[in-house]
Symmetry: C2
Subunit: 201 residues, 2 copies
């Protein structure tokens, strides 16, 4: 299989993926921003997420900053500026901030060093818990605990669920195909022998 | 934070998630099917995906079957039967097949033991490569290599990308909110100093 064909195919096999901008800062105060599509939920208590980072040049700043500072942010991507978000995946030289190059305004939370994306609507601040090199293919799994959440109260339902349709959160398929999801239905907790029931979104 | 509120909130923090039905079989031929939202792309060469399985009763069959047989399938979820897919998350007793209980027709590929979901449009067969217990919260990370792909040729673009809009693939947010994404745009490979450019979807 030709290399580019294989990369496009395999990256699109698992369907739609979580789309987030990952923000970091180095000890000299230089920020970094990169687009990631491999964030996965690991557990709710404590609130843990994992993300896979490839060992390539453009990502070295991200990994180095996370290991030096111990913090990072994950921020959702909106249709109004998804092209700018995609642009952060270009290979900017180390030490150049994608916040500046791609036109993103930084936002900070007192006592937390890593920068948030001001134009996002759902932003979380994480502290590094584990960084594991995966021998199977040389990628790195970063596990972090959510210690901060910056989102408008109107996006949170009474039961804690975030309304990502109202938040205008996007998703991605493959390397470069961006989508905006439309709600189909929300379903009650499933029980054996009971028909699936729709609940309010 | 109240437990249910926390679970709803944390599960919805990272936005839309890959949605797949995970099919397995045990050495006695009893099949199992469960809905997963934590499949992540690990690498394209070899084609590797990870998935996080919680150490709970309803998932024991899945983990046990994967470790005994060394194979599993991932199948996309469609709007016409997403409620049945959700129903597989009910706590059926061990040894009861969610294929039968939730009304799914099995499909097999010659020489591959694990069952596929006939009504899916994108189905992959994986061989187990690694199973790692994560000490941080007791979940298990399963890493598999794609060895089979069953999808209609019309869903594959010339460059290998799968058209998930045409495949009617759904996504999920939180524990139970199901969505159907609409295409916004596909963007060319990003380069420093070059404006993001739309390409054909």
């Amino acid at each position: 299989m030709e290399k580019r064909y294989r990369v496009n195919l395999v990256n699109s096999l698992n369907g739609y993926k979580s789309l987030n901008l990952l923000g970091t800062i180095n000890p000299d105060g230089i920020t970094n921003l990169c687009l990631v599509s491999s964030v996965f939920h690991l557990g709710s208590n404590p609130p843990l997420f994992g993300v896979i980072i490839r060992p390539e040049r453009e990502h070295n700043d991200t990994l180095r900053n996370i290991s030096l500072v111990g913090q990072y942010t994950l921020n959702n991507v909106l249709p109004a500026w998804y092209k700018q978000a995609h642009q952060t995946s270009a290979s900017y030289p180390s030490g150049v901030s994608e916040f500046d190059e791609c036109g993103f305004k930084k936002m900070y939370s007192q006592g937390f060093l890593a920068p948030f994306v001001a134009s996002s609507t759902v932003r979380m601040g994480l502290e590094l818990r584990e960084m594991t090199d995966l021998a199977i293919n040389g990628t790195t799994m970063v596990i972090g605990e959510v210690v901060l959440l910056m989102a408008d109260d109107s996006l949170l339902a009474d039961d804690g669920t975030i309304n990502h349709a109202a938040a205008c959160t996007m998703t991605v398929s493959g390397l470069d195909s961006y989508y905006l999801p439309q709600p189909v239905g929300r379903l009650a907790y499933a029980k054996p022998g009971v028909q699936p029931k729709e609940i309010e979104l």
